[in-house]
């Protein structure tokens, strides 16, 4: 009996606020209607077919894949490099750590508002200094070819210091002897990181990648504040698409179907990353 009792508290909350509403969503995705309560026409998989027909949805799916790839990899890489550089404590490295971690503490809505200024054409922070080196008139958030990358820049800026913290912690827990052994054998700094440190940090990498993927996917505030998915859907991400279908277009059929697809997508992603995380940990112990 004990194991079930131990699981019960967590399960109660998961059931109430995840499974029950999800069941409603899956059920509603088979109907066409304007609000969840008023679902009337049964359309089976009709909503899913409508999604496949919707260029905006396919675009959002692709944008999301790009967004995950190009925020998770650079912010983790930077976080790791920062951690390597600031591995040893000292007043200077403590200041550096604090400065790099600071963006994490900014609420995303506030950070997004500030970055509207930074990206402002003409007078914004980026353009002001770029103009000094002769680069003019880049419309960071207004050019469809750039907008998504600009938002990624914000995300990387905000998260790299966050991941640095976990890497720092991981590095502290490594026995110095392993690296020193490599040093004696004449390995260069890069060789030591690559052959000794990175493999030993496997669990940390796995842990951070899960956090990073979750962070990349479940946040939507910056899109709402900065672009609302524009220009011309260039920054439309899956979650924003769902948000807009549900709350602005009231197309509950499409919204719920898109939710189910998004969840399936995320589930696959999390299963994959957790699998890696688990394997790494086994290998380690």
């Amino acid at each position: 009996m004990a194991p079930y009792l131990l699981l019960l508290p967590a399960l109660i909350f998961l059931a109430t606020f995840t499974y029950w509403p999800m069941a409603q969503v899956v059920f509603a995705s088979a109907f066409e209607g304007r609000t969840i309560g008023s679902a009337t026409t049964y359309v089976a998989f009709g909503n899913y077919l409508r999604l496949l027909d919707d260029e905006d949805f396919l675009g959002a799916l692709w944008n999301t894949i790009l967004f995950i790839t190009w925020t998770v990899i650079p912010s983790m890489a930077l976080g790791f490099l920062f951690a390597l550089a600031l591995r040893r404590s000292g007043w200077l490295s403590n200041i550096h750590r604090a400065l790099l971690f600071f963006p994490t503490l900014l609420p995303l809505v506030a950070a997004a508002s500030l970055f509207i200024f930074i990206f402002l054409p003409g007078v914004g922070l980026l353009d002001y200094y770029l103009a000094k080196i002769g680069v003019h008139g880049i419309n960071w958030l207004g050019d469809p070819d750039l907008a998504l990358w600009s938002i990624m820049l914000l995300t990387i800026w905000k998260n790299a210091g966050y991941y640095m913290l976990f890497f720092l912690a991981g590095l502290q827990s490594l026995p110095e002897d392993a690296e020193d052994a490599a040093l004696i054998e004449g390995a260069s700094w890069w060789q030591r990181q690559y052959f000794v440190v990175i493999p030993m940090l496997g669990p940390t990498f796995a842990f951070v990648s899960v956090i990073a993927i979750i962070t990349a996917v479940v946040q939507v505030d910056h899109v709402i504040v900065m672009t609302k998915g524009g220009p011309n859907n260039a920054t439309n991400l899956l979650l924003f698409y769902v948000y807009q279908q549900a709350h602005e277009f009231y197309d509950i059929g499409k919204a719920t179907a898109a939710t189910v697809v998004t969840l399936a997508f995320l589930l696959a992603l999390s299963a994959l990353s957790l699998r890696t995380m688990e394997r790494r940990v086994h290998y380690e112990s």
Binding site: L6, P9, A110, D177
Partner: protein, 294 residues
């Protein structure tokens, strides 16, 4: 692998400190790195300047990163006048700690069950948990709000917290952490006649500190920053949290932007956490190794 490492340990220790000072390039690398850090903190530097400039809405040189005016506290004064900061701070604090404390209880219990117990349906239940891992709250706003109303939790801080009290991520993390603890400790306790409650509380949890700290950071950072969900759940001004409060005085919906005020308000929101970070970062980073477990 660990045995190998241990074998070379004795000889290696003195070398590393000696080597670091010999090469000329570390100074260059340090300078380069300082430049990167400067670039990284440019937005923050700008925030500090913008919040102390009298001009808040737009001038040609408003992006300058050099102090060019006599600093004023006007923007901060506006921000302080405009907000119920004490209430907001208090509520955000309650929200973050309340969420975390209950989470720690539920995830420790569930993590322990998954790590150390055998029972029917374990596999399935584990996947049932994982399902929630990447569920984004905006997706379920309407059904969850309905549930809160039925439970009488609409417009309460508990209502904001409750959906997060069962955390798949936390459960998974605690399971991993418990599994990395050698069983010897518990076996000794079992021989002494300890119950699972005592084992969990007295043996495993103290050893699981790195996992708990890591999860706490993730949870606190996430909930401190959250905007959309508290905005949906809370109505009364006395329940308002920092993020919603910040938006309420600093951001306008139609056209205008009060950059200096946004900067000042944001700095006020961030200040306590930033101070806490500066004060405790070494303890935090070191706490991971204090238990000898990674």
């Amino acid at each position: 692998m660990k045995a190998e490492v241990a074998a070379t340990e004795a000889a290696a220790a003195p070398v590393s400190t000696a080597k670091a000072t010999l090469r000329p390039w570390p100074a260059l690398a340090a300078a380069l790195f300082a430049a990167v850090v400067f670039l990284w903190s440019a937005p923050i530097l700008w925030m500090l300047l913008a919040s102390t400039r009298p001009e808040s809405f737009g001038s040609l040189d408003m992006a300058r990163l050099l102090p060019d005016t006599i600093p004023t506290t006007d923007q901060f004064n506006y921000a302080i006048q405009d907000g119920d900061w004490i209430i907001w701070f208090l509520n955000s604090f309650i929200l973050v700690t309340g969420t975390l404390i209950v989470q720690l209880v539920t995830i420790s219990l569930a993590g322990y069950a998954f790590a150390r117990m055998e029972f029917r349906g374990k596999e399935i239940l584990f996947y049932v948990f994982l399902f929630q891992l990447m569920l984004a709250p905006p997706v379920l706003i309407v059904p969850n709000l309905t549930t809160l109303v039925h439970l009488g939790l609409y417009d309460t801080l508990i209502g904001v917290m409750a959906p997060y009290w069962g955390s798949a991520f936390g459960t998974f993390l605690m399971r991993q952490t418990f599994r990395s603890i050698p069983r010897d400790f518990e076996e000794a306790a079992v021989i002494d006649g300890a119950s699972w409650r005592q084992i969990l509380w007295l043996v495993l949890l103290p050893l699981a500190r790195p996992g708990i700290i890591a999860f706490s950071i993730v949870s606190v950072v996430f909930h401190w920053n959250e905007y959309l969900w508290p905005l949906m759940v809370l109505n009364s001004p006395e329940n308002m949290v920092l993020t919603v409060g910040l938006v309420s005085f600093a951001l306008g919906a139609e056209g205008a932007s009060d950059w200096g005020l946004i900067a000042a308000g944001t700095l006020l929101v961030v200040a306590p956490l930033a101070v806490a970070f500066v004060a405790f970062q070494r303890q935090f980073v070191n706490s991971f190794m204090s238990t000898g477990i990674k």
